[in-house]
Amino acid sequence: MDDIQTRLQKSSRATRQDYFGKAICYSCIGLIILLVACILYFIASKGLATFTQNGVKFWNFLTQSDWKPGDVDKYGNPQVGALPMIVTSFSVTILAALLATPFAIGAAVFMTEIANKKGAKFLQPVIELLVGIPSVVYGFIGLSLIVPFIRGIFGGTGFGILSGTLVLFVMVLPTITSLSVDSLKSVPMHYCQASLALGATRWQTIYKVILKAAAPGLLTAVIFGMARAFGEALAVQMVIGNAVLMPKNLISPASTLTSKLTTEIGNTVMGTLPNNALWSLALVLLFMSLLFNLVVRFIGRRGNIKNER
């Protein structure tokens, strides 16, 4: 009796295990936070140097469209205007996501709700396989198939936002699809059964019950896809033309943040304006994906609240 009483009050192996486990998990999380903080700090400190050390005005950086970090304009100001690249980056990302989303969700619905097991079993690995194709390969396929195709139809050189969009469309398709499949699968089976039992057609069930319940997950899938598109460098670089020009239409050569970054970083000297200006681009890239994230989280949260009500 007394023995049990004292054991109730004393810590045991189980308590120590729990402390141990918690310590491990907390340090892992801590490490991740540290990494993120590190990245933010390093890139911010490098990227802000353009403005603090080289005296470039932040506003000019965002709104001007002349990018020649090595040269000065007639007033003696460095020419670092990133607007064309920002606009292009956004255009290709959003267009690619717009294009890919219906296909991806269609495929995901097919795999989870319509296809028999064999169909889904076949599609799944194929899609997972595509995630692993290196972007270089996409780039070269884009260069040898898509660019001539666009040139043949729309004229011009074939390089431009449209080609970039098409390449990115194929690249983000597997990402969005496989994540959409996950989120559709997580909708409880009984939702679907209940709806069917009430006499709803399959499409009504999919549209009104399943897609609605999975909406936040689908949104996340699209964001992940967009994130990949936004940050994609090597493939886009090959088909977009890399000209720092304000995009006038979808088939004129343009340049994204990432393509500029990869083409030039190796040629610049650490600590000089051309180098810092590139880090500023990286900072913009970082900042925009951050913003992206927050906006979508916000939307996702509102969606959740609505669903609960």
């Binding site: 260069l143 074939g158 890399n242 000209a243 970083i265 190796g266 040629n267 610049t268 000297v269």
Partner: protein, 295 residues
């Protein structure tokens, strides 16, 4: 639990390995025997990288105590790292004097090869020869159609090289005379440029000799053909050196390796294999400002 232990012990092993290699590195550079030994890291120009890599491989066969690591990263990277002293050799396509932020006085230049570059056009254009002035007008955006040069009625698509790249610096200093290039597509690498020019009608760009093949049309300038011979006596004006920079005069292993790079073994064989021109074959020399003098 077993899995966890394996993972953690592997992690620990990894950490140990890191530390140990760190130690062994410093040991290696300290120990000095009669035979020259040491560790050389060469970083920089991706264009020069394969040549140095191959030469380093051959070199190490006879000098097993010297360990050479060759890495890419670009000319800017090479120059800034050798200036920092974090590597022994900085490979560059460009004179250190031409780079902002590099104090060329501290660095010693070792020219290991000469690379010639030629304007290339898509075969469609129907032009095989231009004058230097026409070439300049194309790249500054004053001539925009091939028919002005006696070719097809086709718009000229200028594909420039990445700003700050050695190739572009060489081309602009030889052709543009200080004028600014038209804003246009830019590509970083020879391979991509070659592919784009060969597939895009009306495209013009420029390539190192070694990348010119029968898929693109290399232009003659003022009826001078882009050949190694024409480069060696400066009849062909668009060429540059491949540099290996050291901080101060090279010592020990580094000295030996750079000597090897300049030796006939490398210059007569590897340099040619790579499509470069040997510095020994040059009858003229160029300084950082682009002034050419007889050797």
């Amino acid at each position: 639990m077993k899995k966890k232990t394996i993972i953690s012990s592997l992690l620990a092993l990894g950490a140990l390995m890191t530390i140990a290699t760190g130690c062994s590195n410093s040991n290696a550079s300290k120990s000095s025997s009669s035979e020259v030994s040491g560790k050389i890291t060469a970083v920089g120009s991706t264009a020069l990288q394969p040549l140095v890599e191959k030469a380093a491989g051959d070199f190490q066969k006879d000098n097993s105590k010297i360990n050479i690591t060759v890495q890419g990263g670009g000319s800017g990277t090479g120059l800034s790292q050798v200036q920092d002293g974090s590597v022994k050799i900085g490979n560059s396509d460009i004179f250190a004097e031409q780079k902002d932020g590099i104090d060329a006085k501290k660095l010693v230049d070792h020219k290991v090869a000469v690379v010639g570059m030629a304007p290339v056009v898509n075969k469609d254009a129907g032009v095989k020869n231009v004058t230097m002035d026409q070439l300049k007008q194309i790249f500054t955006g004053k001539i925009t159609n091939w028919k002005d040069l006696g070719g097809k009625d086709e718009k000229i698509t200028v594909v420039n090289r990445a700003e700050g790249s050695g190739t572009r610096a060489t081309f602009e200093s030889a052709v543009l005379n200080g004028e600014k290039a038209v804003k246009s597509q830019e590509q970083d690498s020879n391979g991509t440029v070659q592919k784009i020019v060969s597939t895009t009608p009306g495209a013009i760009s420029y390539l190192a000799f070694s990348y010119i093949n029968d898929k693109v049309e290399a232009l003659s300038i003022d009826d001078v053909k882009p050949t190694d011979d024409n480069v060696s006596d400066n009849k062909w004006k668009i060429w540059s050196y491949e540099h290996m920079y050291t901080k101060g005069n090279p010592k020990d292993a580094t000295e030996k390796f750079i000597k090897y790079m300049k030796s006939d073994d490398v210059q007569k064989k590897l340099v040619k294999d790579m499509g470069y021109i040997s510095t020994n074959d040059m009858k003229v020399q160029k300084d950082a400002k682009g002034t050419v003098t007889d050797k």
